[in-house]
């Protein structure tokens, strides 16, 4: 199997970027990734871009737009959509295109412009990731879906409102040093619990925000890395993707994501490591309950113990969870998030550590991609 690594990363500031359009964001992230890799645009052989929904901007066909605006024509350009997992699905397909032998240097990007539409429109766009005919029909929102999961987790395992709040508290604290983050201020458990209830038991500060942003990655084969004399590539050691029922009511359990469990199993198996080897984990805390589910489903603790894990400030001996701020504080431009997680892990692993893991969820757990990255220290022999 070909060895493949990340050789460049770039992202925009995440936030309410009123002055920037979808194309502005995508191009800015792409140029930064190319400059970070110290290559020329002409080296890029294909572009995969994650973007959840044209409902936000009325602009579909983002792949063609992005390739055109970036001056990358006529390379193939492919938009990938898997709701909030669009970014990591784009990454996985970019990775597979190199693995297949078809390409050597590929860009994987993600972009979402969510604030060009009124809040009710954004709510509707996000709900399109659920089962509109049966879940949307009765008035559910995405916060509502995760609230149903949270209530059940509290019922089955005694998880508390305070433990949920701590997810947001920890992530806000972690984002203080993140120059790209939407929110760089500390919050307290009291702040979370006194914020408006969106969908009981989830409060406003249990929810990741509406965000504009883009992120991009350059992937290269080992041959290309040698040819270009790239220093300090971050190796892709394992990538797993799995699907689960679109609607919550079609799952066997509300308190675990089988998509995460199976994607993680595939990624660990390919990387030949286990959960206990992971030092940095970027997980999908779109709502506070989902970080608790992720910690359990990825194997960092036993099922039902996620709340207690969070009380230890997200640090359980080895693994640091969402050390750059998570979706809650960094912001969640849905199609960009999966790529942003991998940008963060790459920046970390260039400096320290051996193994990092990213978990990116689409919808209420219907799609999950788990990616394991390794620093130069992870390559044995």
């Amino acid at each position: 199997m070909r060895k493949i690594a990340i050789i460049g990363v770039g992202q925009t500031k995440f936030g309410e970027e009123w002055t920037k359009s979808l194309r502005d964001l995508a191009i800015e992230a792409g140029i930064k990734a190319i400059e970070d890799a110290k290559i020329e645009g002409k080296e890029i052989e294909a572009l995969y871009i994650g973007n959840m929904s044209g409902i936000f901007t009325s602009q579909e066909h983002l792949a063609a737009l992005a390739a055109d605006m970036a001056g990358l024509n006529p390379i193939p350009s492919i938009r990938c959509e898997a709701a909030c997992a669009s970014g990591s699905v784009a990454f996985r397909n970019a990775y597979l295109s190199i693995l297949s032998g078809q390409h050597d240097i590929v860009m994987a990007a993600g972009a979402e412009k969510m604030t060009d539409i009124v809040d009710a429109g954004a709510l509707n766009a996000l709900m399109s990731a659920g089962d509109q005919e049966w879940e949307g029909f009765v008035g559910l929102t995405f916060a509502g879906l995760y609230a149903l999961i949270a209530r059940r987790h509290m019922h089955e395992f005694g998880t508390t409102q305070e433990q949920l709040a701590l997810v947001s508290v920890n992530n806000h604290k972690n984002a203080l040093k993140n120059e790209y983050a939407q929110f760089r201020q500390e919050i307290t458990v009291e702040d979370v619990l006194s914020s408006p209830i969106i969908s009981d038991p989830l409060h406003l500060l249990d929810c990741s925000p509406i965000t504009d942003g883009a992120a991009a990655i350059i992937l290269a084969s080992e041959e290309a890395i040698k040819r270009l004399k790239i220093e300090n590539p971050i190796w892709v050691l394992g990538v797993g993707q799995a699907s689960a029922p679109l609607a919550l009511h079609d799952r066997k359990s509300l308190t675990r994501f089988d998509s995460t469990i199976i994607a993680a199993r595939k990624a660990y198996s390919q990387a030949k490591i286990s959960a206990k080897d992971i030092e940095y984990a970027e997980v999908h805390d779109c709502f506070s309950i989902n970080e608790i589910l992720a910690i359990e489903d990825l194997g960092f603790c036993e099922k039902g113990e996620g709340g207690k894990f969070v009380e230890k400030n997200g640090i359980n001996e080895v693994v640091k969870v969402n050390s750059t701020g998570g979706l809650k504080a960094i912001g969640h431009p849905v199609g960009a998030t999966g790529i942003r997680q991998l940008c963060d892990l790459t920046r970390i692993l260039r400096e320290k550590g051996k193994y990092g893991l990213a978990q990116n969820v689409g919808g209420s757990g219907s799609t999950c991609v788990v990616t394991i990255l390794g620093s130069k220290d992870s390559i044995k022999g």
């Binding site: 509707n124 009765v138 149903l148």
Partner: protein, 139 residues
């Protein structure tokens, strides 16, 4: 123009029977039941034999949430309760729950009732089933 196709007339018309009468499907091969209905049994795939199955409309609350932020067509109902109901047949199904909010909790018995579901901006009304809490001792 409605923001969402869930309030479009063709969508409502297509699945009106399933939504009004709680008609799902039963696989005669593996005896699994599904609500909402499915075309293919995910256990048996092409070996499956799916037929319509009308659920009893009785069950208990499996999980629930009280929504204070509503999508288009539901604003006037705020706050309202959406739950996952464990139907008597063992199948989970998503629905609104009506009754005193204080009386709603996991495990509480509920039954399906026919109600107005939402009203779109252009006046189109969706009807469907909601589940009401059964008062202990009354039935």
């Amino acid at each position: 123009m409605p923001l969402s196709p869930i309030s479009s007339i063709p969508v409502a018309r297509r699945i009106i029977k399933n939504r009004y009468r709680l008609i799902g499907s039963l696989c005669e091969n593996c005896k699994s039941m599904f609500m909402p209905p499915r075309i293919i049994c995910p256990n048996c795939r092409r070996k499956g034999r799916m037929k319509e199955y009308e659920f009893s409309g009785e069950g208990e609350i499996y999980s629930f949430t009280i929504l204070n932020t509503a999508p288009e067509g539901f604003e006037y109902q705020k706050p309202y309760v959406v739950g996952i109901i464990k139907l008597r047949e063992g199948v989970l199904f998503t629905s609104q729950i009506i009754g005193k909010v204080e009386s709603i909790r996991i495990g509480k018995r509920v039954r399906a009732v026919f109600r107005k579901m939402s009203v779109s901006e252009d006046g189109f009304i969706n009807y469907g089933l909601k589940f009401e809490v059964i008062d202990e001792g009354s039935s």
